[in-house]
Structures are given as C-alpha cells and as structure tokens.
Symmetry: C2
Subunit: 346 residues, 2 copies
C-alpha cells in the first residue's frame, strides 16, 4: 500500500479519495488556502460540504498549514487545484516536494506564452516549480470524462492518465484502478491535456446555441439536440486542429480525452450556464455579474487559445479561418459584436 497526498479539497480533488481509499492506500487530503471551510467540516463531521457525502474511512484531512507533514513519506502527490491554482501549487506547495516523487494533476488549463506557445498543466507546473526542482519531478495528468460527484458515487468512469514514462504511468494507474474507475494510459500528455483544457472552452460554445434558441421563446419542443450536435461536431473539428498544432495526436479528439470529456462537460453546471447566458444575448460583463463568485476556467482557456492563434497567425503558423467557433467565443468575451457562425456549419 502507498501513501498518496492530494492537494486541493474541492469536488474533484476529493473525489479521487474514493478509488484510492477503496484500494486501501493511505490518503491525505490537503486543503488549499481557499479550502479551510471544507477541511473544518471534514474534521468535525467527515461530511464533504460540496459532495454532501462523508469521505471514505481513514482519509486524513489536513489544513494547508500542515502541508509539509502531509507530504512526508508520500509516494505520489495529486494536484486537485483549479487552473487558477496551478501557479500556487507549483511555486508554493512545490517548495515542499521531494525530487523524484511523482505528481499527477487533475487540473485543466492552457497557459499562453508571449511567443504564442500554449503550455499544458504539466508544462506550466515544471516552469513554475522552485529552481532546484525543475525537471526533477515526474509530472503526469488526468484527462477524460469525469464528473466528480459521479466518481464519488462509484459510478463507472473511464479516464486517461498521461505522462512521458510508461512504466511510472502504469504504476500510478495501478494505484487508482478499481472495478468502477477505469484508467487508460497515454504517453501523449500534450494531446491529452490540450483536449482536457479545450473541452471546457468548447462546452461553453455548444451551450451558446441553447441560449440562442431559449431567447427565441418556446416552440413546443423541450430540447435543442440538433443545434448542439452541430456544434459538438464543429468543436471536435477545431479541437483536432489545435491538438495537432500543439504537437499532440489528433485522434484523441474522438476518444475519452476529446469527445468523451466534451460529452460530460456540455451538461456541466458553470460552463453550460455561462454559454447559455451569452447565447441569450447577455454581455460577458452581465453574465459574469450573474455568476459572481463562480470559477470560470473556460474563460481563461478561450482567451489563452485565442491569443495564441492571433500570435501564430501573424507568424503565418495558424489561420483564424479554421476556428470560427473559437473566434466567436473570444469575440463575445471581449465584447466584440459577433454572430454564431452557423454559415460555417453548412
């Protein structure tokens, strides 16, 4: 049995306790500086306030101040922070990491550089680790469709663990695999992580068409599957181009990290709601106000991807023509008048 330290006690970080605890590992769940209320609740009642479930027995909650102790002797560190926490995770929590101890991140994000390059989560983590640890922490990530609450309910879930060293990756996957948590592995972290991030952006885009139809008023039909499906396919077409341009395997877009993860995220709370508000005609400022306090990772990912395409188009390496939906989404976030690109579908 191994010792696994999860940093980030939000819904996704906590959900990973279930398969690890079911495999009898020692699991330490450390809150970030934003998670004190969650850790307090876990200490008092073992009830996770966002899951509304008790943690599995023996999972040990830690406040962020106790991070050094929580990392002592850990065989694996798991990052469950949001994309806004990646810098803190690598640069601050990272001070307490041990050279050679592997990390796996369930965080989704893309971080754009001045030269137009986009960094995936493991690349950004490596860039932001303390100098003495750069290149010395084997960094991995988790892609694929996983609603955290369903994992905590032990529903069947299929994901992809990615990293560069197949042996280490298989060892990590083995810590997590249960009869309900199905783990594939991939040595294409760029491809998997680009899909993992972009699916947030495009899940918002698909919901724009739901908002557009809702704004027209009722027409006797409850659903909007045709318009959603048209943009589901358009999303995968644009994602493939972006994944290949990042240097990943474009075929991932029809596998768990692409189509699989997009499928669950279209229906996910915050991203879907933002898309529907924008589709109904709310400005981004109005939608942001309506959703005050919510973490909107999709916004950062759309902006990063759009800035990258703009820089690269100037360098002759990309063409905005290939990304009508991404362009429309970026326009909406910047307050630039823009129409849903229906003409590009047919």
């Amino acid at each position: 049995m191994s010792i696994v330290t999860i940093i980030g006690a939000g819904v996704m970080g906590s959900a990973l306790c279930w398969p690890l605890a079911d495999n009898n590992h020692t699991v330490r769940l450390v809150g970030t500086p934003l998670d004190d209320d969650i850790i307090r609740s876990l200490n008092e009642t073992r009830l996770h306030p966002k899951h509304q479930r008790e943690l599995p027995p023996f999972v040990q909650p830690y406040f962020v101040d106790d991070l050094p102790g929580a990392l002592e002797g850990a065989d694996l560190v798991v990052s469950g922070v949001s994309s806004f926490g990646v810098h803190w995770f690598a640069s601050q929590a990272g001070r307490h990491f041990t050279s050679g101890t592997p990390v796996i991140s369930v965080t989704k994000g893309l971080f754009d550089q001045p030269d137009g390059r986009l960094l995936t989560v493991p690349q950004a983590e490596d860039a932001w680790l303390p100098d003495g640890l750069k290149g010395k922490i084997p960094l991995h990530a988790i892609g694929g469709p996983c609603i955290a609450q369903e994992l905590a309910a032990r529903r069947h879930t299929g994901v992809v663990f990615c990293g560069q060293d197949a042996r280490l990756l298989n060892w990590i996957a083995g810590l997590f695999r249960t009869e309900y948590y199905h783990v594939q592995t991939s040595t294409d972290p760029i491809g998997v992580e680009t899909c993992a991030a972009l699916k947030n952006a495009y899940a918002m885009g698909i919901n724009l068409v739901v908002g557009e139809h809702e704004a027209k008023g009722p027409d006797g039909l409850a659903n909007h599957f045709n318009p959603q499906a048209a943009f589901f396919a358009q999303s995968l077409v644009e994602m493939r181009k972006l994944v290949e341009w990042m240097g990943g395997d474009g075929n991932l877009v029809y596998q768990l990290p692409g189509a699989g993860d997009l499928y669950v995220t279209v229906f996910a709370g915050r991203t879907a709601r933002l898309g529907r508000l924008l589709g109904k005609g709310y400005s981004f400022a109005e939608a942001r106000l309506e959703m005050a306090g919510e973490t909107l990772e999709a916004v950062e990912i759309i902006n990063s991807a759009a800035r990258a395409v703009t820089v690269l188009e100037k360098a002759g390496k990309a063409n905005w023509q290939d990304y009508p939906l991404l362009r429309h989404m970026a326009n909406l976030l910047q307050g630039i008048p823009s129409e849903i690109p229906w003409s590009r579908i047919g």
Copy 2:
C-alpha cells in the same frame, strides 16, 4: 423552382418538407403502404399526426396508389422510408422512377451479404432497383444529426449530403439549404452512410450503461454522464475501425456523421429505451415485447454488422477483439450471456 417528390410520410420524410417548402419548391409527399392514416389526416386537416404540426402550405399529400402521378416531372426523389422499407422503395416504388432523375435517401441502414460485405443504403438501393434502372439512378444520402421534430420546428440543424458526383450533390444541397438547415456535402457516401447506420447501433450500446445503473437503484445522483461518456468514446473508436474497413474516411467519426449524429441519437426515444431495458437485465425477447409495434432499426444494424465481422474474422480480415461493445450488443440480442465490457475501457 423544382419539383421534389418525397416517398415516406413518417416523421423524417415529412420533416424534409419544411426546408423544401421554405425554398418555394413544389413538394409532393407520398405515403408508403404503411402511411395511409397519415395521408388521410393530412388531406383532412393538414395536421401531421406524428409531428402534431400542420404541414407547410402547398405541400401536396399523396396516397401510395397515386405514386406514378406524384413522380411525374419530378426533378428529385427523396426516400424517407425506414430501413425496413428500402427493398420496397427500390424494387417497387423504383418501377416508376425515370432514368437519370436523382434520388436522395434519409434512411439509415446496413445490409449484410453472404460474403461478409455490408451494403450502405445507396448500394442496397442500386442492387434492388429494377434491372433496367440499375446504375442509371444517381443515388445520394443524408447523414448527420437531425431529430425530425426539431427540423420541423426550424431549429438549426447541420447535416451532410453524400454522393459520388460533386456537382449534382451541390445542386441537390442547394434545393434544401435554408438559414436553419445547414448542408455540408461529401463525396464519401460509404463513410457517411456507415456512420449514419452505426450510430443507431452504438446509441443503444451507450444506453446499456444507463440501464445498468438504474437497475442498481437510486444513489442520490440524477445523471449517468461518466459511464455514458466512456461508452460514447468507445463507440467512436469502434465506429472508426468499421468505417475504415468499409473503405470510408475514418475521420468522419468526429464530424457531423459520427460524433454529431451519435450525440442526438443517444437521447432518441426508441433506441435509447431498448438499450436501457437490456441494460437493466431484460432479455431481448422481453424488451421486444415491452416495445411491441416499435420499429427497431438498431437491432437489424447490430445483427448485420456482427454477422459481417464474424464472416470477416474467419477470412482473417477483421478481429472481434476490436469490437467489444458491438460483440456485447450482438450477444444480448442473441440471448448469449454477456457482461458490459468495462474491462476494455481501462
């Protein structure tokens, strides 16, 4: 303006009246021998009983007995029959076709041959046309995500018209294109039509996992997105192999004909219901009884594809290992004990 004769007055055949009528074509809607009640209702009230909407003005309903007159002077014939009607459409209705007048079919199906080959709808139509017309009717088909009721509500819908002659295809697409009906074209009818058929089969497969979870009883969560998403991706992986083996472009699986169409069909009534019943543990005979009177195209498509893989495996040209979900579905239909292949996901 052109004259377009639609044969088959069910929900999908009728739905195509909307874009054609909005483009001011002369539209003749001919019932099959099974559609007499629909045509009677249309003649009396113009209300389509399955759409619960009035047909657009000027669309002319015809009983099957008046087919020869309905075809007189037609510039295009549209098939809206079910996959069970393809033989009748080509061999019986086909007697009244005119050499050179193009046909486009919205029917989905795959028809297996003794040698293991599968025929797409246009190929089967050509095989079943009267001898004098074989090879003389330019045959086309429609793939992509389209719930008929949503098209009739003029919701945005993106589809793919396919055929071998790009010029003729573009002319046909132009008859249909409106501001809500977005038509792409493809000169890969094998690929598009293989996707169109297989998505029915796999939409049933994805719903097996919903039934499996429902049988376990409530666990506090309304949805089953994780398990569905895992099999959504598995479906696309298997579909790609089958499409390529048929000689089509595997990349269609992440475009409108594959992922797009699968996305709408997962939620579609009959196929979804059959999958959920089988997933709950009903035998196929029990499920068939529960759904008496329903047209279950998915069943024929699964059986045809499975027979083809079996014949081809014997010839060393295919491997059942590559199709765990198809094999599981075929087993269920044949009453062979079989488990949902979760182990193949991770």
